[in-house]
């Protein structure tokens, strides 16, 4: 038993402070992005989510220049970008996509500037890699309370707007006719999405942040038909991906090239994708079994009919 444990968890795993912080932060962030991301997927806002994550690069690199934690930079610029998208995109879905693309382009332009200044001022490329691709083991422990508090705020907003979000995702017309302030709900959601994706950027980087926002919810939607269930499954899938990713990254220190270790973000994103494929396989299996059950029932019915006919004859 202990040999198995030792094979799974390399020595020092549970004693390491950074590992424990990574486990906690990773789980909290995966839960929030899972819950928030379910609406991103059903509202068809994956592109906006991706854009809000990537423009974080500009904020993160600017925060680094100013000596602040990148999370505040991610969040600040993502919220501003969310507002701009809403302002420029107005009502039409296609205008929205264009607005999102424009804001994304402008944000990445700023990121190019600030990342350049970062590397010249500190003469290291490490900061670029950390901002773009994240480093869960490097999350500073004093940030933990802020991360938990922001997560709690995001979850409270989702819980408050839960039914209005569902109804307006289903049909904005229907929601408006029932008196739901559709526009206000959309803006509130966009801001919450900006917060969630910034938290994801803090863990797996600005470029990969959408993987956590979209992947686990997309997996969950294949597996469950209830909105609450989808959020629970998405959260669990995200936590599993992050935790297993952390274990593998820690173990990879002993893999070739020895003494370097592979980035956690790689494992997390790879696992998210693997879970999505596995979710599809499970859903297909379930469908096949149901169809077989129905086919058997049908065959039984026809054979009984045939028997009856045989007797009648």
């Amino acid at each position: 038993m202990s040999q198995v444990l030792r094979a799974l968890f390399a020595p020092g795993f549970f004693a390491s402070g950074p590992v424990r912080a990574a486990l906690v932060v990773g789980a909290v962030v995966a839960l929030v992005t899972g819950v928030v991301g379910v609406f991103t997927v059903i509202r068809g806002q994956a592109f906006a989510g991706h854009a809000l994550g990537e423009v974080g690069s500009a904020g993160g690199s600017a925060a680094f220049l100013g000596g602040a934690n990148p999370l505040w930079g991610y969040m600040g610029i993502a919220v501003v970008a969310a507002g701009l998208i809403e302002l420029l995109g107005l009502h039409r879905p296609r205008a929205r996509d264009v607005a999102t693309g424009l804001v994304l382009g402008a944000g990445l332009g700023l990121a190019a500037l600030f990342l350049y200044l970062d590397t010249t001022s500190s003469s290291t490329t490490g900061v670029s890699v950390t901002i773009l691709f994240g480093s869960l083991f490097a999350v500073s422990q004093p940030m933990l309370p802020s991360i938990v508090a922001l997560s709690a705020v995001a979850l409270v907003v989702i819980a408050s707007c839960y039914r209005m979000l569902l109804l307006s995702s289903l049909s904005p017309d229907l929601a408006a006719a029932r008196g739901v302030p559709v526009r206000a709900v959309a803006i509130a959601y966009l801001v919450v999405m900006a917060v969630a994706v910034s938290l994801a950027a803090e863990t797996i980087g600005t470029i990969l942040a959408t993987a956590l926002l979209i992947g686990p919810p997309a997996t969950a939607l294949r597996l469950t038909k209830r909105p609450g269930g989808a959020m629970a499954v998405a959260g669990l899938v995200g936590v599993a991906a992050v935790w297993i990713g952390i274990v593998l990254a820690y173990d990879s220190f002993y893999w070739p090239p020895v003494d370097h270790g592979w980035p956690v973000s790689f494992f997390v994103v790879a696992l998210v994708f693997a879970f999505y494929l596995a979710g599809g396989a499970v859903a297909a299996l379930g469908r096949a079994r149901r169809d077989r059950g129905r086919g058997a029932a049908l065959r039984l019915e026809t054979s009984t009919c045939a028997d009856a006919h045989g007797q009648a004859a």
Partner: protein, 287 residues
């Protein structure tokens, strides 16, 4: 027909549209629309695509401001959210990935506008079950709504609109994209609701025929103008010709009605000028 009703409040119209006009970015969409709907009445809103049916619904729902005239719902001026009105919008697209069962959609009709997460599971579930029963949707209550057929989805939307106990049900082209059998089922269901629950049903359609057996009155829209009355009063060559501003023929074939546009009237004059059409236009409020 409601004039002799013993209950005086029931004799008041549930909806009265009084001279409503709508202009959108300089274009006149509706012009001097006026008609009334009584409680429990089944009224069709008939007109081709783009005639202004959806705009009229949006005005009644308080989602679109009228540039002229006024709308009274239950005797009172419009408010943004009117619990008296239930609404089934046109073309709700249910994505197959949407994590909602039929019963979840119906439940959102009860409290989808409220803050917070739903509480009171037992009572909520009972109300939803009763509603699903009423629209014959019990057997697919737990199916993913995106996987249901068009007719089944329509019944779920009707249940969604009815569960908040409205007195007026607006349905925007609910028969579009349904096969003939589902069409008949939905119409029969709506007629039953109007009759048994005394809910006024106001339903838009581009074809009048599926509604003929059940319709008490109709409002015909063409070129932004309307004529209202019984089928016999409105669907006549003189009335519709005046409405369209060009000659149209009304043909009755095996109890079905065909409205056919003709280039010119038989005598070559525009029909609006004849006395008969003027009288007919007066009768249906078209002036």
């Amino acid at each position: 027909m409601n004039g002799h009703h013993p209950d005086p409040s029931a004799a008041d119209p549930i909806l009265s549209v009084e001279g409503v006009g709508v202009s959108l970015s300089g274009r006149r969409i509706l012009d001097d629309v006026r008609f009334r709907i009584m409680p429990g009445e089944f009224t069709g809103l008939i007109g081709s695509n783009g005639a202004g049916k959806t705009t009229l619904f949006r005005v009644i729902l308080g989602l679109q401001a009228a540039s002229a005239g006024r709308v009274l719902v239950g005797g009172r001026p419009l408010t943004r959210r009117n619990p008296i009105i239930g609404y089934v919008p046109q073309k709700v697209f249910f994505d197959p990935d949407m994590p909602l069962r039929a019963r979840d959609v119906v439940a959102l009709g009860l409290d989808g506008h409220r803050l917070g997460v739903p509480l009171g599971w037992g009572r909520r579930r009972q109300a939803v079950d009763r509603m699903l029963e009423a629209v014959d949707a019990r057997h697919f209550a737990d199916a993913r709504v995106g996987n249901l057929s068009g007719g089944e989805q329509q019944r779920v939307l009707i249940a969604h609109a009815l569960i908040s106990r409205p007195r007026l049900l607006l349905l925007d082209e609910p028969l579009a994209n349904l096969d003939i059998r589902a069409e008949g089922e939905v119409v029969a269901l709506l007629a039953r609701i109007a009759r048994e629950e005394r809910i006024a049903v106001f339903i838009s359609a581009h074809d009048v025929n599926p509604l003929l057996p059940v319709m008490d009155r109709l409002v015909y829209v063409a070129a932004g103008r309307t004529a209202s009355g019984t089928t016999e009063e409105v669907i006549r060559a003189e009335v519709l010709s005046a409405l369209y501003g060009q000659h149209v023929d009304v043909l009755r074939v095996h109890g079905r009605i065909l409205v056919v546009a003709g280039a010119e009237g038989p005598s070559g004059v525009t029909v609006e000028e004849t006395d008969a059409s003027a009288a007919a236009a007066d009768a249906v409020g078209l002036r």
